[in-house]
């Protein structure tokens, strides 16, 4: 166990954090402008939603197979799949958040002379924060879990010690439990951090207030 941490688990955890962070950041960077577009031009919401949902229905292992001819056995292949999954979660959440401003609030904004852009930045976006952070929480936790399957392609991430252990004949597989526990702890920590972020960014949405 002692040696496992230094040569296996610790690098695997670091790789896992990187896999997750890249997927969520890229996914958000793509989902956010798409959501703004779908919010502005409502006709786009449905097609974008359907497209990202279709991506989601492809099993990840199958998606890897589809991508390998183009991107090979690389992180890119893994990230394309992971980003696609975060999109499905983030896009509808951000759109729902942007749509969530009540009609009377929007009418008041218009009546007071806010421009469209000011309404977006000063009213709709702040009101979307709880839904956006909610989407991020689901995206992060599910990405932490899905990222373990990267190990089917590459010797990286917390999935790798699990895959190795599965191949060993020994009945008690410590790596499965320790790698699993690390993944769960990491997911929980991220979730707590996001809850704290929401409290900081949207104090008005605290329990009992909204």
């Amino acid at each position: 166990m002692q040696s496992h941490w230094g040569d296996t688990l610790q690098p695997a955890l670091v790789q896992h954090i990187e896999l997750t962070a890249i997927a969520v950041v890229l996914g958000f960077a793509i989902a956010f402008p798409l959501a703004l577009l779908a919010h502005r031009y409502r006709k786009l919401e449905h097609p974008i939603g359907v497209f990202s949902a279709l991506l989601y229905t492809i099993p990840s292992l199958a998606l890897f197979q589809l991508l390998i001819p183009f991107t090979g056995l690389t992180w890119t292949t893994v990230e394309v799949a992971l980003v696609a999954y975060t999109l499905v979660i983030l896009f509808p959440n951000i759109v729902a958040g942007l749509h969530s401003a009540p009609d009377e609030v929007l009418e008041a904004a218009r009546g007071m002379g806010l421009t469209r852009m000011q309404t977006l930045t000063q009213v709709e976006l702040p009101l979307a924060i709880p839904a956006i952070v909610g989407g991020l929480r689901v995206a992060v936790v599910s990405t932490v879990a899905i990222a373990t399957i990267a190990a089917f392609l590459l010797p990286d991430g917390l999935g790798y010690p699990i895959v190795l252990a599965l191949k060993e004949p020994t009945p008690f597989k410590t790596e499965i439990y320790s790698a699993g526990a690390l993944a769960i702890s990491f997911a929980l920590l991220c979730d707590l951090a996001l809850v704290a972020l929401r409290r900081a960014l949207a104090p008005w949405a605290a329990r009992g207030l909204a």
């Binding site: 009540p102 009418e107 008041a108 218009r110 007071m112 806010l114």
Partner: protein
Amino acid sequence: MNTAAEIVFDHVTKRYVGRNEAALADLSLEIPAGAFCVLVGPSGGGKTTALKMVNRLISFDSGDIRIDGRSVRDLPTTELRRGIGYVIQQVGLFPHQTVGENIATVPRLLGWPKSRITERTAELLELVGLETADADRYPAQLSGGQRQRVGLARALAADPPVLLMDEPFGALDPITRFRLQTELRRLHREVGKTVIFVTHDVDEAIRMGDRIAILREGGMLAQYDTPDAILAHPADDFVAQFVGEDRALRRLALRTLRDVALEPASNGEPGSRLSADTTVRNAVSQMIETKSEQVVVVDGDTVLGVFRLHDAGELL
């Protein structure tokens, strides 16, 4: 704090696509600077449509609306709206902003310096009867009445010469509603804005308005006059029915005992004592209830005179 502007509707017409009846048919209305004008009528009368044309939330097909001689079409909409206070029934406070931030919306858009905004916010909170400490609360922490007070403060923030109010008290309980009506009247005397106030409640119209415009289905102006003149001389059957069969009593409610001629009386005059601020309607009600023919009008301890039941009829 004493700027007000004259508002003129000049043959304004609006027709929605696919509807036979006009939403507003050739509406002409002159609202003098500083007046409290109530638009009242059944639904489909176009009162909210007319109101929202002033700040161009709704467009009109022909005619013109002028504020102090200047067409509302001459300004970019955002600039026009920042110069007009706007209050709606559902208030529409920004839930993510504190009361203070909500009130500061238009001054912030206009780029006022921070110190001036802070000062103005404190002033407005007091004006609408809220505590300084309320500035840091969120709308969700307020009662319905408090929210509408904030809505009013927000509309008045940049000291606009015109205030548009679309059924502002329609969602409040009767007691809160009455209190806010009274305070709005006081506030109107203090700040002297030109107010256009929409309601479907004829009692509220009579209570609040210096002038009342009654609109009927099809967006036609049925009558435009002072409450007293409308109650005394309804223009037609529609208006007569709309203001109610008891319009004589409603007229009496517009006067207090201070406004009417009293017969001199001594301190020993029999009859129940009523304050000079009592409405004539309430005085009459009191006499009917106590089966008496007269009441003694007092101002504190001073007897002002006697008011008799048959005097009431003479007033009309």
